[in-house]
């Protein structure tokens, strides 16, 4: 009995399951059994089952497909909602000086923004912000957060990283942070006029920064990072720049001047080694950008430079072939021009002066006579040949056109011969002076470091090299001889040549006697000029004097010339110009 039961159970079990290891005969009987059963299932049930199976398979298929597609797509941080709202960060190349010192670079700073729709408690948020950023009151923060409709408001750009962390740790809903690039100028205010500035989005707006924006190019990098572009090397030498700046600042104090400017130009390549305009502009102080006192006096100011322009009128006279350096001019009496104006000399000479002496004594009457001899056309042509009327375009500025007299008649030619009635940027003047003294070969100032690949095209001299030579020796004598106005620029051992210029400044359309612009243009060494220096002191009062009847001397020979001497003594060792005669300082 028990055996039969077992056999029956085995039969039933074998009917319900298909097993590949079963003997073939047994399997066949199993199949038969199943076939018999299938016949018993109604067809509509089978159809329904088939439909169900199809639906099931389809559903599984969809799920698998979804899984596969999800798995194949990588979710990145870039799909964050804010990234689409904000413009990408502009990465700028670094700026180095000619010796590779870092002048400007990009740093990554966190910036804070808000999504006003997500702020839960606007009062609490405003209070919390005001506590950490007290430059705005809670109500001002509230106002910023209450922008209707906007889903993105900048709250504070370029936060200090630690402050940003503290704000982040507050966990205010709707307040978010984003890293941004910020331009920093670690060399400080010393080079700010040349470097220019960038706007809040790191776009270059002026100076070298604008040049980089337009010519070198920037990179849009997301997330914000530093560019891989090669740094831009500019022509300035930070050491020379600092020395010039320090000496000018000292001179401003000594001679009680309102401002000062200094330029060191390499005559061969036209590279500007130092360009200083005082007072300086702090690159991190936005208020100073609009201050006219702090503008770049070398390129944005146009001034009547006065007697320094005599180098051009004397050169024009010599080049005309009408006179030699020994030709004498009568300077005994002032020249009356028109009804009111009179051309006179500060130190009149009763004896006629040679052309050389006219330059050395800086005689207005003498140069006026030269201009009359040449005629207005010739004077203007000569000024034009050395480029005095062209706007000087550099990497830093597009340049301002020289303001020349509206009519070039005899009177205007005579005043223009000693630098009156014609105003130009100091850099424009320096470039023309360099052209004249560089054997007549045009010098074009550049603020980028010269590279051997930038081979200069061979240019024809615009001024006769012989006249250039004569001028250089006159400038040397001007410094060397007691008679010269620039004798205070003499430094034993340095071959300095130069010309002074004291111009009365135009105030309200008239010349102000007590407000002068004192300038000095120098070449070093004068025999084989390598560097041109321009030193300017704005409205110097002169050294304070003790005697009651003594007047403080504010003329260029007493202010700008000795300043230039001090600058040269300081920068010559850096520039590799050494004294030819060494006199021990203690005697």
């Amino acid at each position: 009995m028990s055996w039969e039961l077992e056999a029956d159970a085995a039969e039933r079990w074998s009917q319900s399951v298909t097993e590949p290891w079963m003997p073939r005969a047994r399997q066949a009987s199993l199949d038969d059994n199943l076939a018999r059963r299938r016949h018993r299932v109604p067809a509509r049930v089978l159809r329904r089952l088939a439909v169900l199976a199809l639906v099931f398979v389809a559903a599984v298929g969809v799920i698998v497909w979804q899984l596969a597609s999800l798995a194949s797509v990588t979710i990145t941080a870039g799909s964050m909602a804010t990234a689409r709202v904000v413009s990408p960060s502009i990465a700028r190349p670094d700026v180095l000086d000619r010796e590779g010192r870092l002048l400007a670079t990009d740093l990554v700073y966190p910036s804070m923004f808000a999504d006003p729709t997500k702020i839960s408690d606007i009062d609490e948020t405003a209070l919390a912000l005001a506590e950490h950023l007290p430059h705005r009151t809670p109500s001002e923060w509230r106002e910023k957060l209450e922008r209707d409709g906007s889903r993105f408001v900048w709250l504070q750009r370029a936060l200090a990283p630690k402050l940003a962390q503290r704000l982040h740790d507050l966990g205010l809903p709707g307040i978010n942070f984003r890293e941004e690039l910020r331009r920093v100028y670690p060399a400080g205010a010393a080079v700010s006029h040349v470097l220019g500035h960038v706007d809040i989005d790191n776009r270059g707006r002026s100076g070298i920064e604008r040049h980089i924006q337009n010519e070198v190019g920037t990179e849009n990098i997301e997330p914000p990072g530093r560019t891989t572009k090669a740094p831009v090397a500019i022509s300035l030498d930070l050491a020379v720049q600092h020395a010039v700046r320090a000496e000018l600042a000292q001179a401003m104090e000594t001679y009680r001047a309102r401002g000062a400017a200094g330029l060191v130009l390499s005559m061969g390549s036209g590279e500007v080694l130092a360009a200083v305009s005082l007072p300086v502009r702090d690159p991190f102080d936005a208020d100073q950008k609009a201050d006219p006192e702090r503008m770049d006096r070398l390129q944005l100011g146009r001034y009547e430079l006065g007697s320094v322009l005599k180098i051009f009128s004397v050169a024009a006279t010599l080049e005309s072939g009408l006179v030699t350096p020994r030709t004498r001019f009568d300077v005994s009496a002032p020249i009356q021009v028109g009804r009111t104006a009179r051309i006179a000399d500060a130190y009149p000479s009763p004896l006629p002066l040679t052309a050389r002496q006219v330059l050395l004594r800086s005689s207005n009457i003498g140069t006026a006579r030269m201009a009359r001899l040449l005629g207005p056309e010739a004077v203007r042509n000569y000024y034009d040949r050395v480029g005095l009327f062209d706007a000087l375009r550099t990497e830093v500025h597009d340049g301002l056109r020289t303001i020349e007299p509206q009519r070039w008649d005899d009177v205007h030619a005579m005043t223009a011969a000693f630098g009156h009635g014609i105003s130009m940027t100091p850099l424009r003047f320096a470039a023309s002076a360099a052209t004249l003294l560089n054997r007549g070969r045009p010098v074009h100032p550049t603020f980028l470091k010269w590279h051997p690949s930038r081979r200069k095209p061979q240019v024809r001299p615009v001024v006769s090299p012989a006249v250039s030579e004569q001028l250089r020796s006159m400038l040397r004598e001007n410094v060397l001889l007691e008679e010269g106005t620039a004798n205070k620029a003499h430094v034993a051992g340095y071959d300095i040549g130069g010309k002074t210029g004291t111009a009365e400044m135009v105030v309200d359309g008239a010349y102000a006697k007590d407000r002068v612009l004192s300038s000095f243009v120098a070449i070093l060494p004068s025999a084989e000029p390598r560097f041109l220096l321009l030193t300017m002191l704005f409205e110097p009062q002169g050294k304070p004097v003790s005697g009651a009847f003594e007047k403080p001397k504010r003329s260029a020979g007493h202010t700008a010339a000795p300043t230039t001497a001090r600058i040269i003594e300081r920068i010559a060792p850096i520039l590799g110009v050494y004294k030819t005669v060494k006199v021990s300082p203690a005697g």
């Binding site: 670079t105 020796s473 004598e477 060397l480």
Partner: protein, 311 residues
Amino acid sequence: MRTVVWVGIAIAAGGTLAALYHFKANTQALNAQVTALEQQVERARANLAGLRAEWSFLNQPERLEKLARETLGMAPLRDEQIEQRAGFDRVRSTQSGVGPTRDTDAPAGSARITQGFQEPEPLAPRATTPNAQAPYTREATNGLAASGDAIEIGDRASQSVEPILQQVASTAASLDLNPLNGFEPAVPRAGRRAPADLNRTQAAARTIDQALDKAADQTSDKAAGHASAQRTGQRAAAAARSQVRAIASSAGRGATPSRAQPARVTTAATQFDETAAFQQSPGHVAARDALAAANALLETVETPRVDGAGQ
């Protein structure tokens, strides 16, 4: 057969899928790693830029000039501080009285220029030129070199003191004394702390060297003599101990002491006495003396050092 094929296909498909997912997961992990590394590189680059900016900020010429003037007493470089080969030639020719003393760089027509031109004064010999702002005087340089020498001598002295100290310590340990009580090995610092009075430091260092050499010799001699004395003592003590043990055991066994026994006990007692006397033996005393001498020496070593540092 067909079933087998289907099953095979199913396994293959499953395997492929598994492999696919494995590789995908792997790739994702590697991708994450790459991203992390890239972020790390970017972070490092940003940090580097920050540090460069800071370095440049700290190196602003204005700041450096202020620091150099105020803390180092320096002034901007003057041409007189630079000497070139031409300068030496000129000094020689000036001394022989034929040198060019005129401004040689004057423009071509220099005859014309000399009319108002002052002849420069004859060149003073450079060595006597008083120059308060020269960065280093020769004396200072020599002083620096000498102080370097002194430091080296001091270091060497302290190095030679080290083994002697160890020797003293080990000898004292074998004598069951504690040598390191009462002083600490401060000697190695002697040279480093005393750059000021160089002569005194040097002299002190030499004295230390010699004294310590002598002390070391003495100590090692005495220690050698002492060690043999100690060995004798130990042998005697061991013999005494074994005899005492023998006596005690025989007593323990309840045996009646023989007539010889009192004699043995007497011998053992004598040997004990000898061992005790060993404490007062000349070797022991010598070692203690050596230790005291070394201590005293170390105190004399300290005296000039403190003086030197005080100046």
